[in-house]
Symmetry: C3
Subunit: 313 residues, 3 copies
Amino acid sequence: MNMAEKKYILYLLDADKWASPFDINVAYDAGFDVVIPYGSVTAETIRTLVEDAMFSRGLDGAQRTKIFLNGSDLNVVRDMLKTARKSMVTPFDLSIFVDPRGGYTTGSAMVAQVEAYLNKIGKTSFEGLKVVVFGGTGPVGQVVSVLCAQNGAEVVLLSRRQEKAERIAGELKELYKVDLIPKANGDDPQRVETCKDADIIFTCGTAGIQLVSLNVLKQLPKNKILADVNAVPPLGIEGINVNKKNKEHPEVPGLYYHGALSVGSVKLKVEKKGLKALMTAEGKKTFDFVDFFDTARKVYAKKKAKKAEKQKA
Amino acid sequence: MNMAEKKYILYLLDADKWASPFDINVAYDAGFDVVIPYGSVTAETIRTLVEDAMFSRGLDGAQRTKIFLNGSDLNVVRDMLKTARKSMVTPFDLSIFVDPRGGYTTGSAMVAQVEAYLNKIGKTSFEGLKVVVFGGTGPVGQVVSVLCAQNGAEVVLLSRRQEKAERIAGELKELYKVDLIPKANGDDPQRVETCKDADIIFTCGTAGIQLVSLNVLKQLPKNKILADVNAVPPLGIEGINVNKKNKEHPEVPGLYYHGALSVGSVKLKVEKKGLKALMTAEGKKTFDFVDFFDTARKVYAKKKAKKAEKQKA
Amino acid sequence: MNMAEKKYILYLLDADKWASPFDINVAYDAGFDVVIPYGSVTAETIRTLVEDAMFSRGLDGAQRTKIFLNGSDLNVVRDMLKTARKSMVTPFDLSIFVDPRGGYTTGSAMVAQVEAYLNKIGKTSFEGLKVVVFGGTGPVGQVVSVLCAQNGAEVVLLSRRQEKAERIAGELKELYKVDLIPKANGDDPQRVETCKDADIIFTCGTAGIQLVSLNVLKQLPKNKILADVNAVPPLGIEGINVNKKNKEHPEVPGLYYHGALSVGSVKLKVEKKGLKALMTAEGKKTFDFVDFFDTARKVYAKKKAKKAEKQKA
C-alpha cells in the first residue's frame, strides 16, 4: 500500500455524551475519508485513545490521523488538550483541532464580523476601543473577550456573579496573558453604567436569555455596535433581527447590531477551512480560536475586496 | 468542492441502545457513503441532532443528508418523527426514513405477499375481506392492521388484554383514520370464535410465542390464509414451516400459510429500494409503511409477470 | 449493484466500553471500506448483532461482512466467540478476527521474535526448552504460555496466587490441550528457584509492575533469554531498554533480553496482514493467535533471509 492510499481519519473526541452531526458533516465535506466519534471522553481516558491512534499506522499514517476535541465544559476540553499533547511522541505527533460546542469558530467569526464593520462607528481596529462582553464566562464569551483584548481593546467581562467573572478573568489571564475587567451584570441601571462608555457590546449568554433590554439601550449614548450570539428567542438583545448584520436598531437610532444567525455562514466556512488545513497540518499543530479568527478576518477581507471591485465595475 | 463530490450521509437515530448492523449494511449497500449511528436518542435530544445535521452543509449538502428513525417503542419513534419534522427549516429540510426495528418493512412485505397469493382462496384484493391480527398492538401488528384496513378489509386487532387492544385501536384511528375492531385473544374456544369467519389470520406476536394452536386450526372452516411473522420457535402458528410461503397446512387441509422467513428477501429488497429512494428524495419527504407497501406490491407484481412470461415461453 | 461494488464492512464488537482507535486504524489501512465499532457488547447481546450483520446483504454481502472481537476479559471474549459462531447460519457465515486488547497479536509476535533469536543461547526451536511465564494468567501471558507449549516447551505459568495459576492452567488445558505447570510468583529467592533452570523467561504482567529484579537476575546462571511485554516503567524486568531486542543485559552478562516496544512493528504488521486475510476469508474461519504466530514467524523468516542476502552481497 503506498502513501497515497492511506485514508484521512479524524477522531472526534467529545467530553459530552455525543459528538455533533454538525462537526461530522463539516469534517466529511472538508475532505476527511473517515470520521470516528467518541463520546464521554475525559482527560483521563483521552491518553489511551491518543496513543492508540498515534502508534498504529506508521509515520505516514500518523500524518493522516487527526484529533478534534469537543465538549461544553471549556476547562475539561483544555485538560483534554493538555493530556493529548503530552501523550504525543515525536515524530508520531497528531495535529489537533479544538472547537468546544462550536464556540471557538462562532466567537472568532463574530469578532471578525464586528471588526469588518467598525467603520459604522468611525473606527478601523479594536485598538483602544472599549468592549463589554455579557456572558463572558461561557465558551463564546471567553473567546470574544480574549480576542478583543489580544487586539488592543479594553474588555469588561461580565457574569451574573462577580466572583465567577473574577475567577474566569483570572484563568484567562493565566492562559492567554490578557487583562480583563471582571464585573457582575447587576440590574438595568448598573448595566447602563457599564455600557455607556462602550464602543461595542457583545451578548454571549445562554440561549433564550435576554441580557440587554430596550430600557437599557434607550439610555445609552449613540454610536455603538451590538453583537448577539443567542439565536433562540428571547434574543440576547431586545428588538433586533436574528438574521441581520450591521443594521441600525429599529427603535434606538445610532446603535448598530449583528444578529446571531448573521454569522452562521462565516462560522461554517471557518470550521471547514480549518478542518481542511488540519488534514495537511504537520506535527502536533493545534488549531484554536486564534487560527479561526485569522481565517475569519480573511473571509471578511475577501468579501470587502469583492464588493469594492463590484462597485468599481 | 463541487456538488458531485459531497458525500451521501445517513444519520441512524435509534431510541434503543444500538443502531442495528442490519440497517447499517442495507444503507451502505443502497449507496450511502457514510452511515453514522446514534443510540439512546429521545424525542427531546433529537431536535439538536437534526438541527446540527441540517445547517452544516449548505443547501446542496442538506439534500445529501438523510435521517433514519428507529426504536422498538412505536410511540417514542412517532414522537421523534414529529419533533424531527418540526425542527426542519425550509429549504434545508432533510428526508426521513422510518422503520422501527424493521417492523414497517416486514409488515408491509408480509401484507403484500399475502395479497399476491389471495387467489389461493379465490380473492383478488383485501376489499371486503375479514382479517384477524394476533399481536396487533406490536410494531408489525399495527402496520399489518392499518394496511389491511386502508385497503378495504374489516380488521380485528387482538391483544392479550382488551384494554390494550382498545387503546392501540384508538391511537391508530387518530393517526391513520382507520376503524379497527379491538378484541382480547381469550382462550382457544374464543380464538376459534374470532377466527371462524376470517379470510386471513396474521400472527404478529412476540418471538417464541405460539398464538394459534393446532387445536384452534382444526376447528376452523376451510379456505383461509395464515401468515406468521415470528421466526423463533415455537412459531406463532403451530405446525407450519418458517421458510415456506403459500403452502397448505400439513395437518389442516384448506388452510394456506406463509412462514415468517418466507418474507425475508422481499423485506430486504423493500428496505434497500426505500433507502435508495431516500438518497435522492427532496424536502422533508417521510418514507413509512405506506411507501414500503407500495414498493413490496411492485416486487410481487414483477415476480408474477416474470413467472407468467416464463410459462408462456 | 454488482458484487464488485459491495463494501467491505468490519464490525468491531468490544466487550469494553470502547473499541480502540488502534484497531480502527489498522482495519482501514488493511483495506476495509467501513469499520463500525460497538462497545459494551456481551455474550448475550452479540447474538442479535451477528444475526443482523449476517442476513442483510445477501450471500455476496455476507462474504464481505466481517467480525472483530475484542475485550480485556479473555473469558468474556471466548464466550462472545462461542455465541457468535453458534449464531452463524451456513452459507451466510461471517469470518471472525479475535485479538483481545491486542494480546493475541502482541503475544504471538513476541514468541516469534524470541524464537527467531534462539541461536543466541545455542538453540533453534522451543522443543524441549524450559520456559517461565510471569503474568501467565493475563491475555498476553496465556497466549505466550500456550504457544510455547504447543511448540514443545515445558512451560511454568506464574501468577501472584497459586490458586489463580491453577485455575487458568486448567482452563487452558481444556481449551488448547496443553499441559502447563502452575506456580505462585513467591518472593525473590523463590523466583530465583523457579527461573534458574529456565531457557526463556517471559514477563507478561500488568503495565508498570516489575516482576524480575536485578537481585533475581544476578543470582541466575548465564545463557538465558528474557522477554518483557510491559512498556510502562517500571518495566517487567529491571535494567533493560524497552526499545531494544536481542541485547545482552547491561548489568548481567550472559542474559539476553527483548524489550516490550521492540516487538511493536511486527505486532502491527501481524494485525494488518491478519485483517487483510480476514477480508477475503471464507465461511466462519476464525483468526486467533495460532494464525498470528504463523504470520509472525514468516515475518521474522523473511527478515532473516533479507539479512543473509545482504551479507552475501
